[in-house]
Amino acid sequence: PQKRVKSAQAQSKTSKIMNTFQISPSSCKVKQKPSDSKTILKQNPVEPHEYVDDQVEDSLQMALQYFEKGPIKIPSRKDKILEKHLKTVENVAWKSGLAPEAIDILLNVALSGKFGNTVNTRILKCMIPTTSISEDSVVKAVSWLCVSKCSGSTKILFYRWLVAMFDFIDHKEQINLLYGFFFASLQDDALCPYVCHLLYLLTKKENVKPFRVRKLLDLQARMGQQPHLQALLSLYKLFAPTLISVSLPVRKKIYFKNSKDLWNSAVLAVKLRNQHSFTEPRKLTFSPANFNPLKRKWKSRSVTPVLNSGSYPKECGKKEMSLSNCLSCDRSLPLERLQSFPLLLKNIHCLELPSQMGSVLNNSLLLHYVNCVRDESLLLRLYHWLNQTLQEECIWYKVNSYEQSKEFANLLDTIIRAECFLQEGFYSCEVFLYKSIPLWDGLCCRSQFLQLLSWIPVSSFSEMKPLLFDHLAQLFFTSTIYFKCSVLQSLKELLQNWLLWLSADIHMKPVMSSPLQITLDASMNSVSELIHYVGWLSTIALRLESNSTFLLHFILDFYEKVCDINIKHDLPLVVLFPPGIFYSSLLSLDTSILNQLSYIMHKYHKNLIAAKKKELVQKAKSEFSFSTKTCQQFNHYLTTMIGCLWTSKPFEKGVYIIDSKMLENTEVSKYKNSLNLVHHPSLLSYAVSFLLQESSEERTINISSIREKKWHCYLDYLFSEGLQGLKFFIKNSIHHSSVS
C-alpha cells in the first residue's frame, strides 16, 4: 500500500480546494485512481521534518495533484499553470527536499511521458529526497523504461539520477532483482556508461555470471577499452577472479565521469539531514541542520565530527587485515548500529567507542555512556577536541561572517545541552572561559557564554577570581542593566549547581576522612566567596542603576538560594546579604520586593536556628562555626525590620542607629510611623484598598485608623493578597520576638 505523508492541517486545506478528495472521519482517505483500479489508502502520520509552512505545503500538494492528473489539454509551450507548479516543486525540492511520496508521483509523471521532454528533465533534476527514496518508486520508474514512453535523454538523466541518489534509496533488494534488466540496457550505447555505473554500485557476488562476463567482454571488443566497462570488469574480477582471464590495467583512473555533479549540493544537503536525524531518541537530538558547502576543506561539513566507530588503531596490531575480514568482524557493536537505549544496555560491555570523541556531544546515548564510564583517556580525548574546537571556532578571536557566528552559537548550544544532560561542566569549557573572557565584548553569544559560566565545576573561587570573575566584573559594571540581570541570573545558576554537587557529594561519603574534611572546608569557603562576590557586585550595581526594582528582583532571587543553603542542601553555611541590599529592599517602593525580602529574612531565621541547634549537638566536632558576627548582623536586620514595619520605632537599635534629630530634619511628620506596615510606601495602596473595602461609603479615609484590632484584620488582608513572604516573616518573627 502506498502512503502519502501529509500534515492533517494541510490535508484539510487541500480538500477544500480539491474536491476529488474525500475526507473520512478517521482522516484516512480512499481515492479511486482512474488509471488503475488499485485502491490507495492514504494516511497521515505526522511528519517530523515538516518545517515548511502550510502555504508552501498547500501549493506543493496542488502541484503534485496537477502533475498526477496530467494536463487536461496538451500543454502549450508557455503554459503558465504548468510553469507555476514546476516552480513550486523545484523550490521545495531544493530548499528542503521532497517526501518519498512526492518523489513517487513525480517520477511516474516524468517517465510516463505525459509532458514534454523539457518538463521531464526539469522534474528529474529536482527529485531531491528529504531523507530517503522508497525502493518501490524506483522499481515503478524502471518499469516505465520498458514501455519506451520517454526519450533517450530522459532515460540517461534518470540513470544519472539513480546513481547520484543511490545511497538514499531505502532498500535495494528489489532493485537488485532487476539486475538482468539493467544489464540488458548495456546494449544501448548512449546509456552504457551510466548503466555501468549503476551496475557497479549494484553488483553483488551472486550477480557475477559467466554469460555476463562474456557479454561484457564482447562489448569491450566492440567498443574498445572504455573506462566504465573496465570498472565493471574489474569489479567482476574482484568477485570472481577465475572467470576473467583478461588482464586489466593495474593503474586506476577515474572510471566514471561524475554523474553526481548535477545534484552535488543537493546530495550534501540530504546527507547532512540524514546525519542529524540519525541520533536517537529524537527529542534529544542536538544541533540543527544547517550546512555551509564552502566550509573548510579540513574538516567534515559540521563542526562536530561524524560518529564513526573506531576500529583502526585496535585492529592495526594484527598483521593481515583484509577488507572482508574487517567487514565480517562482529564481536563488538559498531556505533552506527546503536540506536536505542536498550541496545546500549545490552552492549555496554562491548561498545566500540567512536574514533573521534567529539561526536558524543551529538549523541545522547553515548552521553549516557560517557556519564557512567569514568575513563580518563576518554575524557582527555574529549577535552582536547573540545578545547581546540572552541579555540578555533571562537568568533571574537577573529574577524568573521554572520554564518560563522551562527555556527559558533550552535556549537555552544550543543555543548550546553550536553552539559545540562550530564549535569556537569566540561573542563575544556572552563579553560575556554578563562582564555576568552578577556577578549569578550559581552555581547557576542551572550546567553551561551553566561550559560557556560553557570556550569563551571566547584573549585577554588580565589583562584578563579582573577582569571574570570574580575573580568566579568568589569563587563558587569560597564554594561546595561539587562546584562547585569543576566549575569546575576547565571551566577545564581552557578551557585545552585555548586550546591547540588556539594550536597550530593557529602551525602555519598558517610565517614569523613581527613583530606575530604579539608576539601569540604575549602569548597564551602569557595561557595561563601562566590556569595560575597555577588554581594559586592550587587551593592555596586544597585548604586549604579539607582536602586532599580528590576535589578533588585534578580539580586533577591540570588539570595533566595543563599538563605536556604543550610536547610535545603544540608551544607554548613549561612551567609547574609550586605546592608546595601537589605536597606534598598526594605525601603523599596515595590511590594513584591518587600515581600521577597521578608521571605528571605524568614528563611535566614530558620537556617540560623537550625545551624545553632546543630552546633549545640555537635559541640565537640563542630562542622562549622558561625561567627557571632553573622548572628549579630542578622539580629540587627531583624530588629530594624521589626522596628520599621511593626513597632514603628525605626532605626533606634542595632548597628546603624540614626540620630532622631536627623530624622526630624527630614521634616517628615510622624516619621516613626511612616515605615510601618500601614504607611510603608510600598504597602500604602494596600492600606487604602483595605479601608475602602471595609467602608466604601466613607468619603475620607484615615489610614492611621488601622490599629489594634483593625491592624490584625489588615494583616489578614495583606496575607490574603498573596504576600506570602510577609506572612511567613511576621508569623515567625513576631511570635519569637514576643517570647524573647
Binding site: 588503531p313 556537569e424 550530593a504
Partner: protein
C-alpha cells in the same frame, strides 16, 4: 517566588570521587587545569630563556634525514596528543593511509586496503630528533608518486612531506595518560589539499586535532633575538625583518635588512646575562632597531606589525611558515616552536 521546595534536578551520582580529585588534583585532567590556571594568570611566555647552544641533536640521528628537513618551507600546526598511536605499527599505518588517500582522491569507488596505488606512503621515525629522553620519537610521513619505471629506480618523486616532533615537550607529557603520544608540533611541506587529507586521517584515526600554528609579533621578536644571539661560523643570509602597515587599498610592507654581524653587534650591546635571554633584552633589541629606523625614515615601526623575521639560523613568518637553514640550531628552533605548540594545545 521560589516556594522553597521546588523540585530540582538530581545531580549525577558518579561525581563522588571527582570532587575530592578536584582539590587534591590527582587526575591528569586536574593537573592540566591547574597548569592552565597558572599559565593564564601569568605571562604566556617565561620572561627568560636559554640561548640555543650547539646542535643538541642526539648521536643516533640520521644526517641525511636532517639535511632533508633543512632549507624547506614548513607550514606549522599544533597537534593534540595522539590516542593509541604505536611506533610498532608504522607499516600498517602506511598501508591504511595510502588506501585512505586513494579513496579520497577517487571518491565513490571501492578501494581495497593494500592494493597498488599510484602513490606510496612511507612512515619512518626520525631517530634522535628529541630534546630530552622523555620526548617521544619524532616521525616522518612522506607521499611519493610511484613512477612506472622498473623497480630498481623506483624512488618516486616526493609529493608531500610532513613530520611530527616534540622537543622539550615535557609539560604536555605530564598531563596525559600512557595511551597518548605527545607530538605537539607538526610541520608540513606540500600541497595543502594533501595536508588536509592526511590531517583528516590522523584526526579520525588517533582522535587528535590539528590547528594552524601562527607566530605573533611578540614571539617573532623573541625568535629574532634568539637567532641573532646564536654564534655562527659564517652567515649565509642577511638578517631581515618585514613590517606590515595596514593601509588601503594595499597593505604596505617595509623590509628592514641588516648585515648579520651588525645585528649581532647590536645584540651583544644589549645582552647582559650570559647564556640567557630576558624579556627586557628582547624589548630593548627591537627598540634599538626601531629607533634606528625612525632616525632615518621618520617612521615608527612600533606602530606597525612585525610579520617576518629571517636570519642565517632560520626564517619565520607570522602565518606559521618556517624555514630552517642552520643544522646546528635545528633543535633550538624546534624547541621554541614546540613551546608555542604546547601553549596552543593547552
Amino acid at each position: 517566588m521560589d516556594t522553597s521546595d521546588a523540585p530540582e534536578s538530581t545531580p549525577r551520582q558518579s561525581t563522588t570521587s571527582s570532587l575530592t580529585d578536584y582539590f587534591i588534583g590527582t587526575t591528569p585532567l586536574q593537573k592540566r587545569l591547574e597548569s592552565i590556571r597558572k599559565q593564564v594568570s601569568v605571562l604566556p611566555t617565561p620572561p627568560r630563556r636559554k640561548i640555543p647552544q650547539g646542535s643538541g641533536l642526539q648521536e643516533n640521528v640520521d644526517p641525511q634525514k636532517v639535511a632533508f628537513l633543512l632549507h624547506k618551507q614548513w607550514t606549522l600546526y599544533s597537534l593534540t596528543p595522539l590516542y593509541k598511536f604505536s611506533y610498532a605499527n608504522l607499516k600498517e599505518y602506511s598501508r591504511l593511509l595510502s588506501a585512505f588517500i586513494a579513496a579520497e582522491k577517487q571518491k565513490g569507488l571501492a578501494v581495497e586496503v593494500g592494493e597498488d596505488f599510484s602513490i606510496k606512503v612511507i612512515f619512518s621515525t626520525l631517530l634522535g630528533m628529541k630534546g630530552t629522553q622523555r620526548d617521544p620519537e619524532a616521525f616522518l610521513v612522506q607521499i611519493l608518486s610511484k613512477s612506472q619505471l622498473p623497480p630498481q629506480n623506483r624512488e618516486g618523486k616526493v609529493l608531500w612531506t610532513g613530520w611530527f616532533c616534540s622537543i622539550f615537550g615535557d609539560s604536555l607529557l605530564e598531563t596525559v595518560s600512557e595511551d597518548f603520544t605527545c607530538l605537539p608540533l607538526f610541520l608540513a611541506n606540500g600541497a595543502e589539499s594533501n595536508t588536509a587529507i592526511i590531517g583528516t586521517w590522523f584526526q579520525k584515526t588517533f582522535d587528535c586535532y590539528f590547528s594552524p600554528l601562527t607566530i605573533n609579533a611578540f614571539n617573532l621578536s623573541w625568535l629574532a633575538a634568539m637567532w641573532t644571539a646564536c654564534k655562527m661560523d659564517h652567515y649565509v643570509a642577511t638578517t631581515e625583518f618585514f613590517w606590515s602597515v595596514p593601509c588601503s587599498p594595499q597593505s604596505l610592507d617595509i623590509s628592514y635588512a641588516i648585515h648579520p654581524e651588525d645585528a649581532k653587534a647590536l645584540w651583544d650591546s644589549v645582552h647582559k646575562t650570559p647564556g640567557e635571554i630576558t624579556q627586557e633584552e628582547v624589548d630593548l633589541f627591537m627598540e634599538c632597531l626601531c629607533s634606528h629606523f625612525h632616525r632615518h625614515f621618520k617612521i615608527h615601526l612600533s606602530a606597525t606589525r612585525l610579520v617576518r623575521v629571517s636570519t642565517s639560523v632560520a626564517s619565520a613568518h607570522t602565518d606559521g611558515k618556517i624555514k630552517i637553514l642552520c643544522h646546528k640550531y635545528l633543535i633550538g628552533v624546534l624547541a621554541y616552536l614546540t613551546e608555542l605548540a604546547v601553549f596552543q594545545v593547552e
